[in-house]
Symmetry: C2
Subunit: 201 residues, 2 copies
């Protein structure tokens, strides 16, 4: 871009961040160099450490630098319910929503034969072992409501059904706070088919 190779490289490097284009990268670089070098130093240190040390939890495969993640180690979660998600981001969303007190299992993706992603790549052997060990009464298949997510949920259900575990899937329907006018047709027809008896409080 201009006057300093290293500043240019910094702007370029910041663009690995999602949603950061050239203008935003420039603003970020200027902010860090002009106003918050200490914060920039801290970010560099933590980021270097994180990409180096963060791996998968041995038990649930979520992102963690520990052998077993904090959530798996917590004594306050219910071992009888296991929620299967596609990504740690999905897990965070469910945790942020609050209310769920069971454990998780993170696939890091979904089945995709065309991309060569098979059951062992998303840890299904490990999931099967865990369910077979006993203790899990319900398996919530919280993969995404997409074609790939549905197919993955279906595959897991087929594989684990013989183990006698109760299998469930998140409810489909119209999102809370939305307006019907703007809900897509597919969601709307699922919501119609899955309609429930009206309950007055």
């Amino acid at each position: 871009m201009s006057f300093s190779p290293l500043v240019d490289r910094l702007m370029e490097s910041l663009r690995v961040l999602p949603g950061v284009g050239p203008k935003t990268a420039q603003r970020m670089a200027m902010h860090l160099l002009e106003r918050d070098r200490e914060g920039g130093k801290r970010l560099a240190d933590v980021l270097a450490m994180a990409v180096e040390e963060v791996g998968y939890c041995r038990r649930c495969r979520t992102l963690t630098e520990q052998d077993i993640c904090t959530l798996c180690e917590s004594a306050r979660r219910d071992d009888a319910v296991l929620c299967v998600v596609e990504s740690p981001a999905d897990q965070l969303a469910i945790e942020d929503a609050g209310g769920y007190r069971g454990r998780y299992f993170v696939l890091h993706g979904h089945l995709s034969p065309l991309d060569g992603i098979g059951p062992e790549d998303i840890g299904l052997d490990q999931l099967e072992t865990r369910v077979a060990e006993g203790g899990v009464e319900e398996l919530i298949l919280a993969t995404n409501p997409t074609v790939e997510g549905e197919a993955t949920a279906h595959y897991i259900a087929t594989q684990l059904a013989p183990l006698g575990v109760k299998l469930s899937r998140l409810a489909y329907g119209v999102p809370m706070g939305g307006e019907l006018e703007y809900v897509d047709g597919g969601t709307l027809s699922r919501a119609f088919n899955g309609r429930l008896p009206f309950q007055s409080d």
Copy 2:
């Protein structure tokens, strides 16, 4: 937030970036850890190097890791015109606009007696020395069109007038491509007062 102290620290650290709140920081952390560790590693390295090594150009005070910045060293710029800006970001904006072929001088701020920012803090002694050395015929005072920027430009003009250099200021007026309806009153009256003879091509 959740399951890994280091991932939490990474999300927290990403928030030093301007415009990055908790949700964006989470998305960035997940993206780097799940999909682009190499980019994350590179960003960490470059950022650590930049906050450590980038200083001010000895000649124009812009951000650079070199003793003299690339632009000051370039033989293809006009030594006779010197543009004074408040920040390297302003300099980048002018460079991106194209057309200007002179040199720069970066103040890194503006005069602000209440905050204890005096002439020496924004390098005015250095600017005066440079102009006194000769060679600079025109000094463009491109500080921001704000109260502080105006005051700073006025102060510099007063100090350097005795040196016999030609002083100029960027034109005020309605921005290109804007609609008059949405231009603020101050800008509009400056544009009226500064109106120019109509030129047909």
